[in-house]
Amino acid sequence: MEIARHWRLKEQRYNLTGTVCTKCGEKSFPPRRVCPKCGSETSAPFTFCGRGEVYSFTTIYEAPTGFNETAPYTVALVRLEEGLLVTAQLTDLGNDKPEIGMPVEMVTRRLRSDGDERGMLVYGYKFRPAVV
């Protein structure tokens, strides 16, 4: 049971919320207390727009514990419009083949159950092919 961790991470997971350095404007995800660019310790929450494109991807057939319900699934590095790379599952691929450069958008989906079917449900960001 990791309910405290899931609860602590909910804001960034539900909405792709990271930080922006109030000194130099550098954006970070996941949130950073210290700016990796200028070293400033002042930051504000920043919610990314959720649009981007697939930078690279791989398909997982042998899923780690907790993720086998949805295997096989594709994990991608997504280059967000704001320039950052985020690692996330792709979803709603249907019969589409994932491709480098594919336009994608963030959705909030069920990531897994914490433990077995009695555990809390964990929700967070994934990316799907852009609908329009």
């Binding site: 959705v107 989906r109 069920r110 990531l111 449900l121 929700y123």
Partner: protein
């Protein structure tokens, strides 16, 4: 027109400030169900195909996407929302609200009411009427109400052909900010045992033909008729109408009996291509109608929930619809995003294969 004291009309006029729909990507053709369970006999199938949620989707994720679409259209500050209410008969948790997660994710928490509604297929409109009451009384400026389901149908049962996934959410607010004003609502409720699901049961039970005349038609027709009489309106005064749609036939017959033409219900009649989205069925008909409506258009919406009851809404579209409609995905955008699956994949996706 004589004032009907049974109408639900807030003292402060209210309306729909924003609306959003959601339908999952996957489709199971009804003929696939017939292939597996009745040797492929395909005559009299209730719909063409139904929507099926992906492996990582449930009422929480779907409610959130519909709400995000509604918020994009409404353009209001989430901190001004005082209630988040979602109706469904497939909330992922037995205890822990869907509505708290949606409220948190859209930034409405913590100064907010949040609860889940249950009234079979009318839980969504039940939430809408509650939101009207909150806004209309001045307790809050905006309230979010919606209805979505990942509906259950017993394998091989008549309901399995139609039990689908999807729904809609609305930001209810003051009439002068609304893209559609809700003129009045009338609710008609009785104790009718046409369909139910007992605690801990996976699949609902229903009364077969008993679900028709004494349940669906009695309540839909009474609610629609009484509302129209009270408003001094006839079917031809409305531009559009949308009804709860458990299949393709029932809403078409209800429309006809109330005096509506096939053209009036065409934009909201989605059950042939997405199935019965239960708590979402009448209201996703409304979002689809709003997607094509013009300012000044008048819409009648009548929901139906087993148990049983109907909520009838008299709605008038305003000029604000035109500037907000294109700010989010439309209902038909989701319907067009279609991937067909077979019964085996459906059985996996809906958890019908026992793993332990």
């Amino acid at each position: 027109m004589t004032e009907n004291k049974n109408l639900l009309k807030p003292s402060r006029p209210v309306g729909i400030v924003g609306y959003g729909a959601y339908v999952p990507r996957y489709r199971l053709p009804a003929k696939e169900v017939a292939r597996v369970w009745v040797g492929g006999r395909g005559t009299g199938l209730p719909i063409k195909e139904k929507s099926v949620p992906g492996l990582d989707e449930d009422v929480i994720t779907m409610s959130l996407e519909a709400t995000r679409n509604a918020m994009k259209r409404a353009g209001v500050d989430p901190a001004e929302i005082r209630a988040v209410w979602f109706g469904s008969e497939s909330h992922p948790y037995a205890v822990k609200p869907t509505s708290t997660i949606v409220a948190e994710a859209i930034g409405a928490a913590p100064h907010v009411q949040a609860a889940d509604m249950e009234f079979a297929c009318k839980a969504g409109t039940e939430a809408m009427v509650m939101a009207m009451g909150m806004v209309g009384s001045g307790m809050g400026r905006y309230a979010i109400a919606g209805g979505l389901d990942t509906a259950q149908g017993k394998p091989g049962d008549a309901l399995e052909y139609t039990a689908a996934a999807g729904g809609a959410a609305f930001v209810i607010g003051p009439a002068d900010e609304s893209l559609a004003v809700i003129n009045a609502v009338y609710s008609y409720v009785t104790d009718t045992p046409d369909f139910w699901r007992r605690e801990y049961q996976r699949y609902p039970e229903h009364g077969n033909r008993f679900t028709g005349e004494p349940a669906y038609f009695k309540h839909i027709l009474a609610a629609g008729k009484i509302l129209m009489e009270a408003m001094g309106a006839k079917a031809s005064d409305y531009t559009w109408a949308t009804f709860h749609q458990p299949n393709a036939k029932f809403p078409q017959r209800a429309a006809s009996l109330l005096g509506f033409t096939p053209e009036q219900i065409e934009p909201g009649l989605l059950s042939p291509v997405i199935g019965n989205t239960y708590a979402g069925a009448a209201i996703i008909g409304l979002t689809s109608t709003l997607d094509v409506a013009k300012p000044g258009d008048r819409i009648l919406m009548v929901s139906f929930g087993s148990g049983a009851g109907s909520d009838a809404f008299d709605i008038t579209v305003t000029e604000k619809l035109l500037e907000r409609r294109d700010k989010a995905l439309k209902t038909q955008d989701y319907i067009a995003r279609r991937t067909e699956i077979d019964y085996a994949m459906y059985a996996r996706m809906r958890g019908k294969i026992a793993m332990k």
